[in-house]
């Protein structure tokens, strides 16, 4: 084994020219390309977030003008949703790990995979261009008729950028689905797939089926804005609620595009940290599929006060309660997995447990919003802002970073400083709660969202929130430092530094270009940890 391992060059050393990166077909290198570009956008969106929190530190609108503020929160939303959260786990960890986890040499369509990245970059260029030319002020939700007939900002550039990046998601989804169907190695049956692979399957279905609706909606915005075709503006004979139906038909499932992968990652992190099989594997699989499917039927919960009929709201309300059941199952199963485990609290495990806690709070507050009568008071306030940040930042970003820590030795072949990593994880958890918990309170007291200035009685809660944002920012900057350090000085990682199960830990770190010396053969289910 050992001599052969040294013979095959790792994917990192297999070509050093810029061209060998930018024209690569290797899923692992494409994953790195994505990782670098989404990190760039994460910090861009993060700067916008910092400006927002700075402005909101005082009740008066004193730092920037109302228009600048509106453009800042719009930019923050557009960038974080489409250029960071949606591609984050699927396109970096998914691209890197999915083929290895199923014992394949690459994804089914390597060229298409590279093309997806170029689409992402093209979409990103439009969005950055929009920023440089003065920004856009519609909010990431592009509600009509404001976006089509009233906004004087660069709506079209942003719409084109998001339209393009949407196709990058669609192609990734397609690629993953075909890969999982056709490229599993000998013995890798469906119910032997690691949960991360299942989550990639679920998320790919949603990407493939929901994103075209977004593309169509954006195209209709363009038609109304540029050509004056009456679709959404009542003055032209259109219907503004039609837009909201289309938009949320995509954007609710998009929440699951952001959360399903996180659930997959956390299942891997917890089993490895606990050295035990996941509790209720099949229920975990069914709940992934259940969430992906029911996710398409609940969009109307964003429209309880929008003018939607009372009866439609009742139906959407009960469906929204129902979709919480599979999420609850997952939380209980993760907890039960700890039972009789051999639990170590490395950084990945801290992130994973942090995810479970924050996701649970995000999910429970989601039930408040699913209850029509409560939603009336809470919707369009900071309660909603806090709720979805608990799911997306507390949930998805924690899981993403946990995953990056967990697979970092595999991806780079180096270890990082465990002490610093734990410190950053704990700081993130604390900073996150300090930032967003007060927003639940502000929202319950009625503070509307997207407000550049606000009544003084909400001042204290906002100061707490801004203070938390400082800690949060620090905790996001720290990993950059110790990861860069590890690239140069980190100890070499063996094949399996964590003692974790899974095909990715059987190959070398970093893996060779085609992942395995010989196609692996699978003889048992995932997480086959044996007891000490």
């Amino acid at each position: 084994m050992l001599p052969a391992e040294q013979a095959a060059p790792s994917y990192l050393t297999d070509g050093n020219t810029l061209r060998s990166w930018l024209a690569t077909h290797d899923h692992k290198r494409i994953a790195i390309l994505y990782a670098v570009s989404i990190t760039f956008f994460f910090f861009l969106g993060g700067i916008a977030a910092a400006l927002i929190r700075l402005e909101l530190a005082t009740p008066a609108g004193d730092l920037m003008s109302a228009d600048t503020y509106n453009k800042t929160f719009t930019f923050h939303g557009v960038v974080m949703v489409w250029f960071f959260l949606i591609p984050s786990i699927p396109n970096t960890l998914g691209n890197f790990l999915l083929p290895i986890m199923i014992g394949a040499r690459d994804v089914a369509f390597p060229r298409l995979n590279l093309f997806s990245w170029y689409l992402y970059v093209a979409g990103g260029i439009f969005t950055v261009a929009c920023l440089l030319l003065g920004g856009v002020d519609t909010g990431w939700t592009f509600y009509t008729p404001f976006s089509t007939m009233f906004s004087n900002s660069n709506v079209m550039l942003t719409v084109v950028g998001v339209f393009i990046v949407g196709f990058s998601s669609i192609l990734t989804g397609l690629n993953f689905i075909v890969t999982i169907h056709t490229m599993r190695t000998t013995g890798m049956t469906w119910f032997r797939l690691p949960l991360f692979v299942w989550s990639m399957y679920g998320v790919s279905l949603v990407m493939l089926l929901a994103t075209p609706v977004l593309a169509m909606t954006l195209a209709l915005i363009a038609a109304e804005r540029l050509l004056g075709v009456g679709i959404f503006d009542p003055a032209l004979g259109g219907d503004p609620l039609l837009f909201q139906h289309f938009f949320w038909f995509y954007s609710h499932p998009a929440v699951y595009i952001m959360v399903l992968p996180a659930m997959g990652v956390v299942s891997e992190l917890i089993t490895a940290g606990v050295r035990r099989r996941i509790f209720g594997y099949r229920f975990m699989v069914y709940s992934i599929i259940g969430i992906a499917v029911i996710g398409f039927l609940v969009w109307g919960h964003h429209m309880f006060v929008a003018g939607q009929s009372m009866y439609a709201s009742i139906v959407f309300s009960i469906l929204s309660f129902i979709i919480a059941v599979p999420s609850a199952i997952k939380v209980f199963n993760w907890t039960a997995t700890l039972y009789k485990g051999d639990i170590a609290f490395g950084a990945p495990m801290i992130y994973a447990l942090g995810f479970v806690g924050l996701f649970m709070l995000g999910g429970l507050t989601g039930l408040f919003l699913a209850a029509t009568a409560l939603d009336v008071n809470l919707t369009d306030t900071y309660f909603v802002v806090a709720h979805f940040h608990y799911i997306m930042v507390g949930g998805s970003v924690m899981a993403y970073l946990g995953g990056i820590h967990f697979w970092w030795p595999k991806i780079t072949g180096r270890m990082f400083s465990e002490a610093w990593a734990r410190f950053a994880a704990i700081l993130m958890f604390l900073g996150f709660n300090l930032t967003f918990f007060p927003q639940f309170l502000a929202g319950a007291e009625g503070m509307p969202r997207r407000y550049h200035q606000y009544p003084a009685e909400y001042g204290l809660l906002n100061i707490l929130s801004s203070a938390g944002a400082v800690l949060l920012a620090a905790s996001y900057l720290l990993p950059i430092g110790y990861f860069l350090w590890s690239l140069r000085f980190g100890e070499r990682a063996g094949n399996d530094p964590w003692g974790a199960e899974g095909l990715e830990w059987t190959t070398s770190s970093p893996p060779p270009t085609h992942n395995f010396e010989a196609p692996p053969v699978v003889t048992e289910g995932p997480y086959a940890y044996t007891h000490p």
Binding site: G61, L241, L338
Partner: protein, 312 residues
Amino acid sequence: MNFLPEASGFAPRIDGLFYAMLGLSALVVVAVFTTMLVFAIRFRRGRNVDRSGESHRDLGIELTWTLIPFALFVGIFAWSIRLWIDMRTPPGDATTIHVVGKQWMWEFEHLDGQREIDTLHLATGQPVRLVMISQDVIHDVSIPAFRVKQDVLPGRYTQMWFTPTRPGTYNLFCAEYCGTDHSRMGGAVIVQTPQDHARWLASHATGSLAEQGRALFTRYGCAGCHDARSSVHAPRLDGLYGSTVPLADGRQVLADERYLHDSITLPGSEVAAGYAPVMPSYKDRIDEADILALVAYLKVRGTDRETPHASR
């Protein structure tokens, strides 16, 4: 909730549900966190405890924690829906106040014609129905102290109702993002005792909304076609409100506020059976406030409430 007063009939009922859910959530959080903590301590690496045994027969457990949350959810759902239906069903004795939203101000028109901008005077104990429309983009009337909120759409009436219960001055917000001055589009709701409110109404009296509408009916030339003496073949409109109108395309529609509104702005879309579609569209010639007055007038035209003050 700590500094937000409960100032409407709904507020205590909504807070009741809120606190019930808060209690339930707290219970779940504490239960899960404690379990995690106990496991984390008991089974931490390096500790010598019994870790033997696989957890294969887990169907019973899985079903338990699937069905229990499900049952709880259905219970909460039922509770919330009862409240919701009440919130969406204005009582017959509610006073109607018309609201027009535009970038970035609110206009309120009381039934007797009093107009206010960014301030709304109400009386305790009197149910109020707001009938709302926007002149441009989507806005939203939000009054947190009443726990109510409703989007205000262009081209379509939406409504909400509530009963103020506590005198005081409360925040009024626009809660749907509407451009530059979204965060300044608000004002105050002033709830008065019935006596104070009656005094306020009297001191701000102008012609009632319907009377203003009658004047507009002539000014905009509607009378030229719709009056009995007119030579144009056009419907009389007397007693139209609330009746069922047969349309030229064979459908039947209820002549409600929406129908009256659209008859003025989009006359070609629902043509009354038996008439030629000759009525011009007023869409670009009239603003929503005038349409409100016209609609108020059409609602009483030909009824015994048409003569001024007969209704009150």
